[in-house]
């Protein structure tokens, strides 16, 4: 076998092995997307009920809660970025990080001090590489987040927002995550989580019946709101985590699918080149044999004379 042919054969073998791996990753990601989507759906009843309850209290109580009142001149804002622990997901993480950076720049432009909280190793690596301070980081659950994870994230954030601005508390909380639109589309979105705008919550609840019942609060409207709002924030963060996980798996699936396709193309090209090299080799061998016999025939014909 010629040297050229051997090189092609070796490359085909290695690309085939890569293709097998990417194909497997694609299929794993595809099954995880379905699972993650199911989790999003399973969490919906709780979120809807909670939203309805928040709307009910909001209309019943005269709201003066730290989580719903807007600061007159906000000086500090927190940004929570949801990235993933693992890469190989196309532009998933870079899109989310870019959206967070854009939001940070915008908030800083408005004269606010921005503290950043990050979920997921990829996002943390981005900030650490640039030696920028992070107020809080969480890792290890981005593939399959649980409600407990959302709680651990929410706790310090709520604490920070309840603290007075003068003592280092924040006035606003923004969240940047990747929304799962469909299998093909996932978009990085930013949303202001706190202070909560109760009008928007009401809109989200799909206010059909404008005349809501007059609730009896147990123990009191303020206490209910006190207990309800942190839960609402947690549930929003939980939903964002789940969407982000589903998006990540969808992005991985897509990235791995194109990797598999590319590997297939590469194998096709390489086998064509290998075939051409093999044929060239054969042609050369034939012409060598033909040339050899012709020379031999000439030599014997000459000696006869």
């Amino acid at each position: 076998m010629g040297a050229q042919l051997r090189v092609y054969k070796r490359r085909i073998k290695s690309v085939t092995a890569t293709k097998k791996i990417t194909k497997a990753m694609e299929m794993i990601a595809a099954s995880r997307v379905v699972k993650a989507q199911r989790k999003v759906q399973a969490s919906t009843p709780y979120a809807t009920e909670l939203t309805r309850a928040v709307t009910a209290v909001a209309t019943g109580a005269n709201d003066k809660h730290p989580l719903t009142t807007e600061a007159e001149n906000p000086v500090r804002a927190a940004v929570l970025l949801l990235s993933s622990d693992r890469g190989l997901a196309g532009a998933f993480n870079s899109n989310a990080i870019k959206a967070a950076e854009k939001l940070t720049a915008k908030l800083e432009g408005e004269g606010r001090e921005v503290t950043v909280y990050v979920v997921g190793r990829r996002g943390i690596a981005h900030y650490n590489f640039r030696e920028r301070k992070l107020a809080g980081t969480w890792t290890g659950f981005t593939d399959q987040p649980s409600y407990g994870d959302a709680k651990t994230i929410a706790a310090p954030l709520i604490e920070a927002i309840e603290k007075d601005t003068a003592e280092g508390g924040v006035d606003e909380l923004h969240i940047v995550y990747t929304e799962f639109v469909s299998m093909m589309t996932q978009t990085a979105v930013e949303a202001r989580l706190l202070p909560l705008s109760l009008d928007e919550v009401a809109k989200e609840a799909g206010d059909k019946d404008t005349l809501r019942p007059l609730y009896d609060f147990e123990p009191s409207a303020e206490d209910v709101l006190d207990a309800l709002l942190p839960r609402y924030v947690e549930s929003r963060i939980y939903n964002a985590l789940l969407q982000s996980a589903a998006s990540k798996h969808a992005a991985t699936r897509r990235a791995m699918k194109s990797a598999t396709d590319n590997a297939g193309d590469l194998i096709n090209n390489l086998s064509r080149l290998a075939n051409a090299a093999r044929q060239a080799e054969i042609t050369q061998e034939i012409s060598e044999i033909v040339g050899g016999t012709a020379a031999l025939a000439d030599a014997t014909a000459g000696s006869d004379k």
Partner: protein, 124 residues
């Protein structure tokens, strides 16, 4: 037939139970409360503890609820809890072991969780 109320028992990550009932008893921060059809609209904060639902078929469903809310309007009652299990799903022996472990580790939260589970099983 007596009037019924529709109950939705939902945990943060799943819907636990839903169906028609004639009476729901839950413990709010200001005491036990029983809700029957036609009750006035209510929104309350739940204590950790067992919730008893008497279904319209006469059966009794007991669930352990770890914090959460009760909301009732228009004969629709929803019980929201971060963690919520039906008594049938609870492994009593495991809960007992967890309770003892929590006591020896003096882990108050775990102790409370195990205690709530055991109380729910006891009610059943």
């Amino acid at each position: 037939m007596a009037a019924e109320l529709h109950v939705e028992l939902v945990a943060a990550d799943r819907s636990v139970w839903s169906g028609e009932a004639t009476l729901v008893i839950a413990r709010t921060t200001s005491g036990d409360i029983g809700v029957m059809p036609g009750h006035q609209p209510l929104l309350g904060v739940l204590e950790s503890g067992p919730v008893t639902i008497r279904t319209s078929e006469g059966a009794t469903v007991v669930a352990a609820v770890h914090g959460g809310f009760i909301s009732f309007a228009d004969d629709k009652l929803s019980l929201l809890a971060e963690i919520c299990e039906l008594a049938d799903e609870i492994d009593a022996q495991r809960a007992e072991r967890a309770l003892e472990r929590a006591k020896s580790d003096s882990d108050a939260a775990a102790e409370r969780r195990a205690d709530v589970r055991l109380r729910a099983v006891a009610v059943r």
